[in-house]
Structures are given as C-alpha cells and as structure tokens.
Subunit: 126 residues, 2 copies
C-alpha cells in the first residue's frame, strides 16, 4: 500500500475518469488555477513531486512547466470530504497562467463590470 | 447590461450548464470548498450577496447555509482565463463543510497515508 493507493481508493473520479484539482500557492494562499487529473497523473505527481495534470483538450499528460519552465512543486496534496475535488498546495515558479499572470483568476466583478485586476508579470523567467 | 450579463457572457458552462466554483475565505486565504453553479445561481449570488450553488444531486438551488446557518457572504467573484472556473472570495460563517469542519479539504497525503488533518469545530454556531 503506497500513498497513491491509499489516496486513489478515496478519490471519486467522474465519468471521464477525471477529478478537478485546485492549485494554491502554499505560503501566500493565492489560488493559482484549476485543472484536471486522472489516476495516472496523480500517481506521477506524488512520485515525482512535480504537478502533472491531464489535458482534456490534448488527451495527454500535462506536465506543468514542461515547456515554459513554470513548474509547480508539490508541497501537499489534499482531498475534500466527498472525494471529488483535490487541493494541491504548490510552490509555483513564475506565472501559473498561460497569459503570464501569476494566477488564472485575474478577472473580477467590480463596479458592475467584469474587470481585469492583474497584469502579466514583467520579464518572467523560470 | 448588468454585472451578471457582463460576467455570464464570458463564462464557459459545461454540457450540463454548470461551472465549478471554488470558495476561498477572503481574508485568511483558506480554500473552503468546491461546488457547482449554473447561470441562475450566479445571478442570484450577485443580486443577493449570498452564495447560492446548484446541487447536482438534488437538481435544485443550494443556498449555502439556508438550513445550517453557515452562510457565505460574497466578497468578490472572479473568473479564470478560459472562463471555465469561478473563484468566490467569501466570508464564511462557521464551518463550510457538512462534517462541521471549517474546510472540506481536511484529508492530506502525509507520511505515505491519507491523514485527517482537521477536526470538527467545537460548538459551532451560525
């Protein structure tokens, strides 16, 4: 019995075999992004300590930062009460978002409009 | 054009007309839970300032805290880059979890097992 087995026995995957995973910067508490994982990407993430999602559009592993260098080191993996959502505490290198913003959640309802509340990080390097 | 219209035009609902919503305590940064919303529950949440989800099991509005008193006051609603996930900054009264824990994410992979890392809040009152 490994940590993966113990965890995977409790995860309730959806009909596609996927579970949503929220990535949160472990020290600041900032919610960075939400993506999806399958059993194999969870196993790889726990084994390597680097977050690996499952890309629904590409139907392939999505090793975060593999091309951009903006990797997520796993600090802790948590599971919710009914087992259908993961919370990943991570240490994010550079921006998490493909728009080069630190977080994907950069739009907010303010003053009755959907406003952009964060700009791309200048000169981000991995 | 209201805030709801502006937002809803940018939300990419899934085939069921739902979008996942992450609830985060606005000041502490604690991730409390993840649930689902449809267009009408988003409209109600923005109109009332109290978070209303859509219950997939009951196929009905789920006005958080309606029976328990553990309401979520909306502080800010954010949308991610590709419009398929919401982040709700909330002020949570009492526990968010039906197990009476503050957060639903109370299980974590530690020392090769899935450990319980938080206990129910004692004597929680709304």
């Amino acid at each position: 019995m490994t940590a993966s087995d113990d965890l995977l026995a409790e995860v309730r995957f959806d009909a596609r075999g996927l579970v949503p995973a929220i990535a949160q910067q472990h020290d600041s508490g900032e919610v960075l992004m939400m993506a999806w994982m399958n059993a194999d990407s969870i196993r790889e993430t726990l084994a390597t300590g680097r977050v690996c999602y499952w890309s629904r559009s590409r139907q392939a592993f999505w090793r975060k930062g593999e091309s951009s260098g903006h990797v997520q080191r796993l600090v802790e993996l948590r599971l919710d009460c009914d087992g259908d959502t993961l919370l990943l505490l991570v240490d994010q290198t550079g921006p998490a978002c493909h728009t080069d913003r630190r977080s994907c959640f950069y739009r907010a309802v303010r003053d009755d409009v959907l406003a952009t509340i964060a700009e791309p990080v200048a000169g981000t390097e991995a």
